[in-house]
């Protein structure tokens, strides 16, 4: 999809002023955090499983070429086809080619972030093939012609009332006076409309949560069952997956599945975890006649062996964004590309370049909650810091900030000078702000005072206090004793 990541500051400013969005995002804070904490607390082995999950992916990434070859060999043996694609354009062309060969008019789709990454729907539409999203959230945003704003809850930025209005607009063959007050009525309406479409579709496209080298299975995890209808009813099933989805064995995938749903929705297990290995076999009464796997690189091979390799462990559970104060404030669209939140802040510069997405790693207070909840223990803050360093090295940081950092660095390397000036500044500010106790405006500090007051310093600096306590033999400030 077309990125607007370069406009992140403007996107974010608009997002925080959107009351509808604010209302919808409250559900993220209220729902996901509590449910995940409860699910984690209920399983004594949860932390051990996180360690094991991390180790499985590290091992796999270190042998990624070989596991992919093993996976491909099994698929081929079982009558499926693997298509290696270097770029988004190659992947969408390959998918179009398969759809055309099948004479496809309509294509049903399960939820797939890779399909978003390669902007598949636009490409199919432009070539006369109608893609139909079947995941309820994806269906809603397809009606609205919007990208997803969350990797597991694509319509999380919308309120029930907005969805009701969209259904009334688009489902105009249904009686206008029908009652859509309850969410259940909306779910039932979408169910009814999509059932026919599942059966009519010529091709079904799904993503994959995992690919298993041992037996060539692709795994999808859903709660709705839409992915299963999508891959079982049409005569062609296309799996679109990125390279790093492969894991060695069923035992390995079992470990990761135990942390996936708990981290994502707080469920112990999602309703449907489906392993599919190829086309219909002799005697089968249903299932696809053709089975294709489109394997996408799109920049991932370049992340391997760098300080960003750990991000390839990601299993797209969404826990990092569910726990991110920045995401809570601005939602997913402001990030401007496919992957929002902390993982998006790390992945987006890796996949589309730091020139386009350099703002994203700055959208963090480094509170560390993302890393604390990541089931794969991805050091997200550390990686955002790496991107900030790259941004600085490449002179992409704005000039005033670079100049300010230069001045600060000059003093930071000279402790005596630093303490002298810090002491003077503190005293001066303390004296100036004595009456009000705070500053509404301050030269060179507009970035701070635009949003909040700066408290006036009171008394000596921390370093002075520290030295004083040490002299008194206490070793640490009395306040924390």
């Amino acid at each position: 999809m077309q990125s607007t990541s370069h406009a992140f500051p403007d996107n974010a400013r608009a997002a925080v002023k959107n009351p509808q969005l604010k209302k919808a995002l409250n559900h993220v804070k209220a729902g996901f955090i509590d449910k995940r904490a409860k699910a984690a607390a209920k399983l004594p082995e949860f932390e051990d499983l996180r360690d094991a999950a991390r180790d499985i992916k590290n091992h796999t990434l270190a042998h990624l070429d070989l596991y992919l070859e093993a996976y491909e060999a099994r698929i081929t043996e079982q009558g499926g086809h693997v298509h290696w694609c270097g770029t988004a354009a190659e992947a969408r062309d390959k998918i179009l080619e398969i759809c055309r060969a099948a004479g496809a008019k309509t294509v049903t789709k399960g939820k797939s972030m890779i399909a978003e990454e390669i902007a598949l729907n636009d490409h199919l539409e432009a070539n006369g093939i109608e893609p139909i999203e079947t995941d309820l959230g994806e269906y809603i945003i397809q009606l609205r012609k919007e990208p997803p704003s969350h990797i597991i809850a694509p319509a999380v930025h919308l309120t029930k009332d907005q969805i009701e209005a969209d259904f009334r607009d688009h489902h105009d063959h249904l009686p206008a006076e029908r009652n859509l007050e309850e969410p259940a009525a909306l779910v039932a309406e979408a169910r009814g409309i999509l059932r026919e479409r599942y059966v009519q579709a010529d091709v079904g496209i799904t993503g994959a949560n995992f690919l298993i080298a041992e037996n060539g299975a692709s795994v999808i995890v859903t709660n709705e069952g839409n992915g299963d209808l999508t891959q079982t009813l049409p005569k062609v099933h296309i799996v679109v997956a990125s390279l790093e989805k492969v894991v060695p064995t069923l035992e390995d995938v079992s470990v990761i599945l135990r942390v996936l749903a708990r981290s994502a929705t707080g469920q112990e297990f999602s309703s449907y975890t489906t392993f599919s290995t190829g086309p219909r076999r002799a005697g089968d009464l249903d299932g696809p006649e053709e089975y294709h796997v489109v394997l996408l690189d799109n920049g991932r091979s370049g992340m391997l062996g760098t300080e960003y390799q750990d991000a390839l462990r990601c299993i797209r559970c969404g826990a990092c964004m569910n726990h991110c104060p920045v995401y809570h404030a601005i939602g997913g669209h402001a990030y401007g590309w496919v992957y929002p939140g902390p993982i998006g802040a790390v992945l987006t510069p890796s996949l589309i370049g730091v020139e386009e997405a350099g703002h994203l790693p700055n959208a963090s207070s480094f509170c560390g909650r993302c890393e604390a909840v990541c089931p794969m223990r991805i050091p997200l803050p550390k990686m955002m810091r790496h991107w900030r360093e790259r941004e600085f090295e490449r002179h992409l940081t704005p000039l005033p900030l670079r100049a300010g950092l230069g001045v600060w660095a000059f003093f930071a390397r000279r402790p005596a000078l630093y303490h002298l000036f810090a002491g003077l500044k503190t005293r001066a500010l303390g004296a100036l702000g004595r009456r009000r106790g705070r500053f509404r405006k301050l030269p060179l500090a507009g970035g701070w005072t635009a949003h909040r007051d700066l408290p006036a310093p009171q008394g000596p600096t921390f370093q002075q206090l520290w030295a004083e306590r040490k002299r008194d033999g206490q070793g640490r400030p009395a306040a924390s004793a």
């Binding site: 919808a24 004594p44 499985i56 779910v187 709705e224 035992e251 079992s254 112990e268 009464l285």
Partner: protein
């Protein structure tokens, strides 16, 4: 496209500073796939048989699967008829073309219409057989095959699954061992479904709604075939 394959694998190897033949790498991969080593397995399902079955039932009910326990195969048709009546559903079922299900005493339920085959759009209720029940999370394992069409698990609004107590295992790994024993090393049926409760969605304001696309109701008929301890 063959070029793409070589190109991508080449890029991966350059990034990993390895070649395919780097000593030890291929062996490490083969050993890992061969060993099928288990990670940390939650202790919660490490229980004597009867308690394991009880855990399965509790976990299944916790995710809105309903469970009826019957003493033997002979009682299954009655249990199906009772369930349909209790839920006010039409007395019609589509069963999988599985001799174990087709051979049940359906004729004792003259009011119940029983047909076998793959699911049709108009089918309200299906009856299928499970391969295993995983006590850890109340999960059913179903596998596709000529006698087990996958559409029966997803298309009808109501899904009834016949599970034997002797098929209940503790963790997922034990279910995989059973499947490997049946299918052979490294082989899976075309499709394996882990099913944990009815279809649901949280896509509208994070409120959980049942019956998004798959079955609204999931009912397990648990056949007690292990004797009373």
């Amino acid at each position: 496209m063959t070029d793409r394959r070589a190109e991508i694998l080449g890029r991966l190897r350059r990034s990993l500073k390895a070649v395919a033949e780097t000593p030890g790498r291929g062996e490490a991969v083969q050993a890992r796939i061969g060993a099928k080593a288990r990670g940390p397995v939650p202790a919660r399902s490490d229980l004597p048989r009867r308690e394991m079955v009880t855990l399965f039932v509790e976990q299944a009910e916790a995710v809105a699967t309903s469970v009826a326990r019957v003493a033997g195969d002979g009682e299954v048709p009655q249990a199906v008829a009772d369930y349909l009546k209790g839920q006010n559903l039409p007395a019609e079922v589509r069963i999988s073309p599985d001799p174990a299900l087709e051979g049940l005493a359906w004729s004792e339920q003259p009011l119940l219409k029983v047909e076998s085959g793959r699911a049709r759009l108009e089918d309200a209720t299906s009856v299928t057989a499970a391969l295993a029940g995983v006590a850890e999370t109340g999960t059913l394992m179903l596998a596709s095959g000529p006698t087990a069409p996958t559409t029966l698990n997803f298309l009808p609004e109501n899904h009834i699954v016949v599970l034997r107590a002797s098929q209940v295992v503790g963790p997922y790994e034990d279910a995989w061992d059973r499947l490997r024993a049946a299918e052979g090393e490294g082989q899976l049926p075309r499709t394996v479904n882990f099913i944990t409760g009815p279809s649901r969605t949280g896509d509208i304001e994070q409120t959980i709604q049942m019956g998004a696309h798959g079955p609204r109701r999931l009912h397990v008929i648990l056949v007690e075939d292990e004797g009373q301890a």
